[in-house]
Amino acid sequence: MVPTNYYVILSAILFGLGVFAFIFKRNIITIFMSIELMLNAVNLAFVAFSQALGKLDGQVFVLFVIVVAASEAAVGLGIIILIARNRQTLNVERVDLLKL
């Protein structure tokens, strides 16, 4: 058996990489992908704890997280298409309508 700690540490590493991608990347689609990476990292922790405790609540939560991620992707990509159409760019630094 692999200790639960290993899964949790891997989950933290993946979450950290997701956060870094979120603040470092400049393409709005890639930023969106890093959000998905963070959600995946959390899912891994959920499943690991669910297995460690011998209860299935964690796996049910993972299914709900996946549903939310799917609907988020649908709406978010709609917003991205709208941004690309209105501003002709995917670079978040060029989307500065609220900047002084």
Partner: protein, 167 residues
């Protein structure tokens, strides 16, 4: 070192390499392909944990539906190589430092608390797909119904957002 541990380390390395590659790739389509590697590796880890249903859903929904949506949008918008200004490059180093601190703190805190988790008695409720369906349709039936409403709202929202305005 048991076989399970070897499989874990291979899949974990695959996931971390995919995530690092997502950051290093300049073109969004390459980032998307790296993310698919991460998701498949995570599905393997779920299998290793004995959560077959979650692994299947991970492959079908994440690897299949969501990533295809991403690749579609990247190709639809003809997204090119991303450009970095000097300020965004400067944000990299302190950002990396902060993220390492964050991940280390989270890992240390949770790893400390898992000692009590591993000491907890196993209830042995491992027959996962049957158990999950029992939980979803009995204990979590209201949240489950709410998710269908959420998907309906998301579909409507995406349609309204993406349609062309009539002039």
């Amino acid at each position: 070192m048991t076989a399970a541990l070897v499989v874990f380390f291979v899949l974990a390395a695959l996931a971390v390499i995919g995530a690092v590659s997502l950051i290093l790739q300049k073109h969004p389509i390459h980032s998307a392909l790296s993310l698919i590697v991460v998701m498949v590796a995570l599905a393997g880890l779920y299998l290793l944990l004995g959560a077959e249903f979650v692994a299947a859903v991970q492959i079908i929904v994440y690897g299949g539906a969501i990533m295809v949506l991403f690749v579609f949008v990247i190709m639809l918008l003809n997204a090119g190589v991303e450009e970095h200004t000097s300020i965004s490059k400067m944000a990299g180093a302190p950002g990396l430092l902060l993220v390492v601190a964050l991940a280390g703190f989270v890992a240390a805190t949770i790893a400390k608390s898992t000692e009590s988790v591993q000491a907890a008695p196993q209830t042995g409720e491992i027959a996962s797909t049957l158990g999950i369906s029992n939980m979803i349709f009995k204990d979590f039936v209201y949240p489950f119904e709410l998710t269908s409403f959420l998907i309906l709202v998301a579909v409507l929202g995406a349609t309204v957002l993406a349609q062309r305005e009539k002039s």
